[in-house]
């Protein structure tokens, strides 16, 4: 769900690995990101609309990747997919680190690119200047 830069790349990767993939996005333009070789499914609509979800076949899905551009849409959608459709593996992208932690603490499988970025930047700087870090 959500076919931006992240969602489209994940969808293509999963399809290449042999998964049967259907993408949901609000905009038809998202189909362009999947490229002309896209052989998976594509449903246009808001992913919180249960009719849209069911058209995409969530009832039979083994896994879901939730990566729309709204953190709150993603955490609500992640819970709907777990609780209502009983999907075993649900991964939810949450950009705000505090919200990602809040929902991760409650059992949600969240991925926070912002936190990953912060950690990587800190680590790189700390490695580059280890002595300075020790003296302060």
């Amino acid at each position: 769900m959500g076919c931006g830069r992240v969602g489209s790349a994940v969808a293509k990767g999963l399809l290449a690995d042999g998964w049967d993939v259907t993408v949901i996005d609000e905009s038809e333009d998202a189909l362009m990101r999947l490229g002309p070789a896209w052989r998976g499914g594509f449903v246009i609509g808001h992913a919180l609309d249960t009719a849209v979800l069911e058209r995409a076949g969530v009832e039979d899905a083994d896994a879901a990747v939730v990566a729309t551009n709204g953190d709150n849409t993603n955490v609500v959608l992640g819970q709907v997919l777990r609780k209502r459709y009983d999907i075993g593996t649900v991964v939810v992208r949450v950009l705000d680190p505090a919200r990602a932690k809040f929902y991760a603490d409650r059992g949600m499988n969240t991925v926070c690119p912002t936190q990953t970025g912060i950690s990587a930047l800190l680590e790189t700087v700390q490695k580059a200047a280890p002595e300075r870090a020790e003296t302060t």
Partner: protein
């Protein structure tokens, strides 16, 4: 009592005004700068600027006290859901009332355990059901010379005839059921046909029996 109001639109602003007049302590959170400026003119330090779905903003608003009541009344249903969840599950806020903007999202609020919700659209439609006598009835065709009318009635789960066999129904004089449309198919009505919620019944009525038929099929709402 202490109340946190998330969202300073019409609902949030008017609730804040009333709560303050009732003598309660209120913090109103609004994200949009233009709205915030207008609200601050009226309410002063009661208004706080920020995104109420951010935990740090809620903490600045005193969510950890915790407030006796939280109103999640932004124009975005996902935001209202997340605000209510963080307040209830993260900070033990006992009472959270959430606004449902799109009635189709009600099912998500129910699923995620946000029990106290208010949906203006659903409330208005509830009033329509009570106030508009023809609701649920569509007049399809009038044969004026013959004094006959073909009407369609949509059966709901509240209908008194749902679950009954047509043969056992007491229908008003001058009315006859013709057919039932369900699951994409039309069948002619037999005495053994059972009426189900969601059915669209086609009927022929004489003169002015349409409203009486509606009452018989849908109740006196």
């Amino acid at each position: 009592m202490y109340v946190v109001v998330a969202g300073g639109g019409k609902v949030g602003a008017n609730s804040t005004r009333s709560l303050l007049q009732m003598g309660h302590e209120v913090t109103l959170i609004e994200q949009r700068p233009d709205r915030y400026a207008r609200l601050e003119e009226e309410f002063g330090p009661v208004v706080m600027r920020g995104d109420a779905t951010e935990i740090s903003v809620l903490e600045r608003a005193g969510i950890a006290r915790p407030p006796e009541l939280l109103l999640a009344v932004t124009g975005d249903d996902e935001d209202n859901l997340v605000i209510s969840q963080i307040a209830k599950e993260g900070y033990g806020v006992d009472k959270a009332i959430a606004r449902v903007n799109d009635p189709r999202n009600q099912t998500h609020f129910d699923l995620l355990g946000i029990r106290q919700t208010v949906c203006a659209t659903t409330s208005i439609l509830g009033l329509v059901e009570h106030e508009v006598p023809e609701h649920g009835l569509v007049r399809l065709l009038q044969l004026q010379e013959e004094g006959l009318e073909i009407v369609e009635v949509q059966i709901t789960s509240n209908s008194p005839v749902a679950g009954s066999r047509v043969g056992g129904l007491k229908l008003p004089e001058g009315s006859r059921l013709i057919s039932v449309f369900r699951h994409g198919r039309t069948e002619l009505v037999e005495p053994s046909t059972v009426v189900r919620p969601g059915d669209q019944l086609l009927a022929v009525v004489q003169n002015d029996a349409a409203l009486d038929l509606r009452k018989a099929l849908l109740g006196a709402t």
